[in-house]
Structure formats: structure tokens, C-alpha cells
Symmetry: C3
């Protein structure tokens, strides 16, 4: 006798607008995860690297990397939201609201906020608002993402189309909740690795982050398992070898983390990722590829009530197998330049 107790994931027709999904598995993040995160990407921001540095400026201790928290929250949603997804279409309105320290347990709840079947009748777009909380129930981050999901039964009726209105950009005054009031007299620019603060960056300024990082299969697999992200395409060469690309696909979050770590070179004091306004994975990354990145300053904002920090809105572009001294981005027409794999519109916090 054979019965199935395994998770088939949800198909497009399984989602309803207003549905609340409490995701497995709650996850306690520790200094062990922080060390592995450093080994996998090599970030060098002083606040997250050093308890002593963080404590001197006003944190109780070094917080975890914002993206380690993001990937953990995201990973929880995969078995319920995107196991049957064809494509991760975008992110919006992602806000980091509370610093996360080692020992914190993160769990995630998602609400279905939009549904729109595609005209082919085979797939549809699912919009979810996912919220990561700590063991006290406080929100540490929330974001909207939308994915294209298969229908299981193509004859299932299309739901009423609901497409949520999404802000182009998080409002500056919503930023900074995850940063305590800083004592800038103790913010040491030699230790942080950069003399440049909020006032030193200019609108339209573009920064080539110079360095490139090649990704190995073992690295992205270890990273993605660390987040308990179960998307099959990242781990199974036996099936992916027969698939569209002939190889395992690297989790897009690995690209985001590498680009963010590389951005230290030029944005060394922009230690906190406060918001992701919009994000899009342009092309896949595979093991053996080398990731480069560059940033453009899109906007500068003061934050009400905060004279210690300011916000820089940047476009972080990741590129593969191509240096960024010429800032590759859009191509002629409306496509992207060759090699571009990620466009991420973010708010960064930097001392004033």
C-alpha cells in the first residue's frame, strides 16, 4: 500500500486572495550561520563583522547580515508558495524593521494579496506579502513578491484578477527602524574601511565595485540549504542535467548576497540594507560563473528625526563574466546588456 504524505506544493488554483499561510520551519539564527554567511560571500561591513565596533556606536552587539535574515524568511515561503513556480517575477516594498541578533528565532507568515491567471490558461501570477517575525512576534522584515505558478488542472476556472498596488519605492521615513541611535563620534572610518559618508555621495554617481567572485556548486548549495530553501532546481543535477539549462540553477539570493558583499568596495559605510524597493532577476547564474557588481546613486534622503544616518537609494546591478568599468545595464531597445543578471533598487543606510 502506498500513500503520499509528501508536500506537493501549491498550484495556482490552490491560492485564494486573503489566504494566510503560516510557513514551516521556524529557524534560530546563530553565530554559526553568521560565520557561514561570511565564508560564503565575504561581506566586510564593520557593524556586522565586529561586536566591539557595533557596541561602540550603539548596538548591543553585531547584528546579523540583513540578507541572511531575508534569505531565511524567503526560504520558509518556498515549499508553500513557489515549489511549483516557473519564475520568480519580482520583489517590492521590502522593509527591514528590526535588527536581528544571534539567537533570534525567525518564522514567516504570508498573505496572498493578488492573483491573475495568464491568458494561456496554464499559469498565473501569485502575489504574496510575507512577514518574518522573531520569537516575540515582532516583525523583522516584510516584503511582497510575485511568482508565476503552474495550474495543476488547466480546466480550473480563473479567479477574479486582483493585482495589488505596489509602491515604487519605500518612503524614506519608514527607514532606519532597524538601526539604533548611533554615536557617530565613535564611528571609526579607518576600521570601517571607508571615509565616505552620506554627504559624500552624489545623485547619479556610479560606482564600479571592481572585484569579481566565481561561484562553485558546493557554495551555492550550502548557502541555499542554510536557508532551508527547498527549490529543487538548485540541488538536483540528476534532473536538471536533463532540464532546460542542463545544470543546476543558482538561487537568486546568492546573486543578491554576492553583489551586496562586493558593494563594500565603494560603499563601505552603507552598512545596512534598509529596504528593497524593487528587484528583478534578469538571467540565470550557474556554477563557474563570476559575479561582478556596480551601483548608481538614484536618490538621497534625510530621515525624519535622525541626524545620525541618511539614506541612499541605489540601483545595484550584478553582472556575470564581465567587469563593470563600463557600467553595463540596458541594451539598445528595452532589453538588458549582455551579462546583466540582477537589478535591485534598494535603500541603504549610511552615517551622516
Amino acid at each position: 500500500m502506498t500513500k503520499t504524505k509528501t508536500n506537493p506544493g501549491n498550484y495556482f488554483e490552490d491560492f485564494k486572495v486573503g489566504q494566510i499561510i503560516r510557513h514551516a520551519t521556524p529557524r534560530t539564527l546563530t553565530v554559526g550561520d553568521a560565520a557561514l554567511y561570511m565564508g560564503l560571500y565575504g561581506p566586510r561591513f564593520a557593524v556586522q563583522s565586529s561586536d566591539a565596533f557595533a557596541h561602540a556606536i550603539g548596538y548591543p552587539q553585531a547584528p546579523l547580515d540583513d540578507l541572511l535574515v531575508f534569505h531565511t524568511v524567503f526560504g520558509k515561503t518556498v515549499p508553500d508558495v513557489s515549489l511549483n513556480a516557473i519564475a520568480n517575477l519580482g520583489y517590492a516594498d521590502c522593509r527591514f524593521e528590526k535588527p536581528v541578533y544571534p539567537g533570534t528565532t525567525i518564522s514567516t507568515v504570508s498573505e496572498v494579496i493578488g492573483l491573475k491567471e495568464n491568458s494561456n490558461g496554464k499559469t498565473g501570477t501569485v502575489y504574496v506579502r510575507s512577514t518574518g517575525s522573531d520569537e516575540n512576534g515582532d516583525t523583522v522584515l516584510s516584503y511582497t513578491r510575485w511568482v508565476m505558478v503552474r495550474k495543476k488542472d488547466e480546466s480550473a476556472p480563473a479567479p477574479e484578477a486582483v493585482v495589488p498596488e505596489l509602491p515604487d519605492c519605500v518612503k524614506p521615513d519608514a527607514l532606519g527602524a532597524a538601526v539604533p541611535s548611533l554615536d557617530l563620534s565613535r564611528y571609526d572610518g579607518s576600521l570601517s574601511g571607508s571615509p565616505h559618508r552620506w554627504g559624500d555621495y552624489e545623485l547619479g554617481e556610479r560606482i564600479d565595485h571592481v572585484d569579481g567572485m566565481t561561484v562553485e556548486e558546493a557554495e551555492h548549495q550550502i548557502a541555499t540549504r542554510l536557508y532551508q530553501n527547498t527549490a529543487k532546481v538548485h540541488f538536483n543535477q540528476h534532473t536538471e542535467g536533463q532540464g532546460r539549462f542542463g545544470r543546476r540553477l543558482i538561487y537568486g539570493g546568492v546573486v543578491i548576497s554576492l553583489a551586496r558583499a562586493l558593494s563594500f568596495n565603494g560603499l563601505g559605510n552603507a552598512f545596512h540594507l534598509a529596504a528593497i524597493n524593487a528587484g528583478r532577476h534578469i538571467a540565470p547564474l550557474f556554477a563557474g560563473d563570476t559575479v561582478y557588481a556596480w551601483s548608481e546613486i538614484l536618490e538621497k534622503a534625510e530621515i525624519a528625526g535622525r541626524s545620525d544616518i541618511g539614506a541612499l537609494r541605489t540601483r545595484l546591478v550584478a553582472v556575470k563574466n564581465r567587469a563593470c568599468s563600463d557600467f553595463p545595464f540596458k541594451a539598445e531597445g528595452d532589453g538588458y546588456a549582455d551579462g546583466v543578471i540582477l537589478e535591485l533598487d534598494v535603500w541603504l543606510i549610511i552615517p551622516r
Copy 2:
């Protein structure tokens, strides 16, 4: 002048029944090891993943993965027991007796409980009972394994054959010592990732764990070093490239951990491995291979005095480069089906 202070390992004629071996190196397991374990295999059981979840149901904090403890205990025995082994023949009567938390120091002692020279006069089987203890001297797990070991001097006389009697199966009432009394009212099936409890599984039920995981050289080397397992075949391409397989052999414990982690998909609440009744590695695993797994429910048992938990005896089968929807196991005759690499008869603990 040259002298040798290096460990030559023990040969068959070096073992005596009744001999006690205190193994090096005691090892403190930490949240760092837990993070690496998660990154290497991707387990998702809520109890081991979350301090908050574990605490809610009655643990002081999240215990370490049972198999991380097993591999650590096993690793200690390698330099003394199996450095000159040709094959790891089997495991029996392995019982997990105390939960292990980060910060615990594990050390291992083995007793030689059986010896039997093979008729070829070149090798023999050594049976050892190995016991892992914490820094208080409490047993955390014990198990019997037997290995085929080379003789150094083929003219050494054969010892009297002693073959220990081994139980086919750990008795159910010996199970559960490593699980505190659980408050099931706080066991949250959404967070644990499965609604299925002890009563929902049926004898003979077979569960395809669906997902496959490809293993890289870096991953199994990092894992095996983490356990301070020094078996040469796992690490040295220079010699193994000239050897029987032409490549490094992956430590069998990596297969066990992967199969166990994959089994979350279908056995998500069976969070504790309480015993290994018997285990056998059928075929070697190499880097680049993809591991799948399936389970069959062999027995269900109540545990005396425990209304909170029950035991499921399962056969966990790991298979390489072949999906398990047809539950590959035995072949015609008495061999195993193509692709089968591990058969493990275990007791799992699951809430009632």
C-alpha cells in the same frame, strides 16, 4: 635519523576481545557545527531548527541533530578501529540516550566485543561497541559496528572466534530517553511542516521522499572533517585516483544524513532518530551523484509511560541517480536493485 610517531592504526591481530579503547579527540559541539550541519544537508525538523519551537514543547533549547552526534562519536573511532579497514560491514543496536545541546563535549570509548578471522587468513571481522559520552560522563549514544580489517602479519595466529549476539531491533521501551516529556498542546503542525502524527502512519506504508540532492567533493570533505573522521579514502585524490574507484569515496555517514534530511518530506514530525536497529551500505557514493530516499513503515510501537510520543520503525533506503517513485530496493535473486546505496532500519520518535 628518522623515527615514526604517527598512528599506524590497528590491524586485525592488534585487537583482543574485552579490550577497551579510549579514543582521541574529545570534541565540543557548538551552534557553529549545527549551522554547518544544516548547510551541508538541509534538514528541516522544527525541533532541531528552532530554540523557540523546542522550548515551547519542553526542551530547554533546540538539541543538536542526532546524526551530528552519531558522526562525531563515529569519527573518534576511525583512527583506532577502521584505519586499516577494508569495509564497514554493519551497524546494530544503536541507541540515542540523551539529548545533546550546543556546548556539550563528546568523547568516545569502544570495547572490542567480537573477532573472527576470515578463512583467507588475510583479514578478519572486528566487532566493537562504541559509547559516546558527554562531559558529565553520561552516555549520549552507543552502538555496535563491525568492520573487516586487514592483518598486518598474515602468519599471526587466528584468535578464538567470538561473534556477539546482536539484537535484530532495539526494544521500544528503550526508546525516548533523549526526548523530554512533551507538551503537545504547543506542538504546532503548521510550524513543523506536517499534520501527520503517529496515528496517521500505517504498517507497510511507503513514502517516496521525492527530492534529490547532488553531492560535491567540497561538501563531503567539509562534513567528514567536521567529524574529525580521518579515513584516507575520503580526502586524497592523489592516491584514490590510482585506487579501486579512481576517485574519492564519500563517507557513508553523508549518505545517512542526506537520506534523513530528505525524509522530512513525508515524515516531518518524526523529529528524533531514537535508534538504528541495523544498517548497511550497499554501494559507494561519489561526488556528482544525486541521492534520493524513500521509507517504509515496518512497525509501530507505543512506548511505556509515554502518551506524548510513539515510535515508528522504518526502513530508510537511499538510492543514487534514480528517483524513488517505484521504491527501488531488492532485485531479482538476493541482490539490491540498481542504484540502492543504503538500507537503514531505524526507530523514529513522532508525537501522538
Copy 3:
């Protein structure tokens, strides 16, 4: 508009004798780093592996591996000292002065102590004395290294040549500051894995460490990022594929750590690396290569005021793709034998 805020590194003409460089990024080392260090190299010294063992003999808890501290301190210096280096020429007078426990924050300051332009007018040698300190400002280790660095502007005038006098060897009485007074009655040779103490080693004794370890790209990249070492040659296949070797070069510190970990087999009680008297990387290591090692006892020294420990001065030689049973070192003439990649003259501390 484009401006550069990225770190161009220093060129030969940027260095001045007497210059003090405070390096970014301070780094808190944790049990997470310790676990990753163990997974990457597999050291088995009981003192660093076990809180219980360390505590029994007089440490408050297990200290971090000395080389994890070394690589962390070294890593800090790379962006300022060797980003434009052609070669890492040597190390001298490296002393480990204080045990480092998980939770310690390490920062590094370097002083330029020598400069000598090469006769080609294109490069020069820079000598720096680098000091790693903890969050209390106590020195944990200091060392001198010298590197060959490019000039940016070949017409820049040569500085007055200053070549520091470097000791051939750290004096024995400077050793042992990082080891508390040990209670040897509780030093358990079964747990430590070796019965051999200071008195058991003889001058001129050579020890083949027997085992070989193959290195993968993912492993050395994870290691080198863990130390926040940003040298480009270790990470970027896109550029290195076009470079001198056609591939990524492994950070020399990986070789040192592997050789040191392998040396456990024969020097199991020599648990503390107290000093590096001199060190030289002879040839590059690449992924796929297998590292072997052997040691020779060059000197034995008592340490004033310490009846618990003695010092062994050893030459640790690492070799690739060649076993060390014939102790490969120098070749006919003044070169090195085929396969030799590292010569390291060190002081080890071992119980008496």
C-alpha cells in the same frame, strides 16, 4: 558623472617608513568560525577541539586555533598592504602572545618598517610589522612580512632603502605567553591522541605526517573569505583564467593550515603554534592538488619559568601531489625538490 570611491590599494611609492596603517575590518571570531575552520582543515588537537579538555588542564575554555587568528589578522592587511603585490616574499618573527577565545574581536595595525626599490624601477619590497589586538587592546599576535609591490608611477623616485634587521628565530623565552600554567596531571594522552611529549622528540628527527588532503575551489574560497582576505587572485576565475596560471591561486594560508592540521599525525601533543620564525611559499597550490606534509625537529628549548611545557622548533614542509616518506625538501643545487610548496620554521609548544 562617475567618481571612484573604491579602494585602489597602495602602490610602492605610497608607503613611507614609519607609516602606521589602521586596517579595516575588525572581526569578532566565534564558535561559528571555529566550526568552519574545523570543517575546512580537520585539525584534531584536543585543546582547541574540546572545552572540557582545555578546562581540565587550565584554560577557561577551548581557545581558537592559532592559525585562524593568524589568517584573520593577515586578512585585514591585504587591502592596504598587498592588493597590488606581485609576491608575498616572506614572514618572520611571528609571535602568538595571548590565547584567543570565541567572542574576541580582532583588529590589526601595521607599521611600515622597511622599503627597498628593485633595480628594475618597477617594483619594490615593502616590509610591515603587523599587530593583531583584541577588544581590550592587548596584542594577540604580531609578525613581520615583506611583499613585492608594484609602483604605479615608474618615474616616482626611489625611497632611501631601509631593510629591517629580522631575527632568524624567536627567542624561546618569548614563547608560551599564550598558554596558561598547565595541570599536566590532567593532561590525558589517550584523549589527546598521542603519548609523545617534549622529552620524546629528538633533534634531527623527521616525521612524515602520512595523510594527504585534496583541496577544492569551494573550500579555499570559503576559507579565504572567512578571513575577509580580498586578494583577487583567489576568487576570480574570469580574470585568472586569462592570467599566468589559467586558474585561481589558493591563498598560502590554506597551505599552512592544512600542513599544520596534517601534522597532528606525529605531533599530536604539540597543540600550540607559539611562533613562526620564518616562512616561505615555494610554489603555488591549485584546486585539485593534494597536500602532504612532514616535519623535522630543528631545536628543542626549555622555557624559563615553565616546567609544564617545552618548545620544539620544527621545519614544517608542505608538498603537493607527492607522499612524504622520503622527506622531499631541497633539490640538487639551491632549489627545492619537486612538489615542495611551503617551508615554515616554527616553534611549537608541547607538554613536558
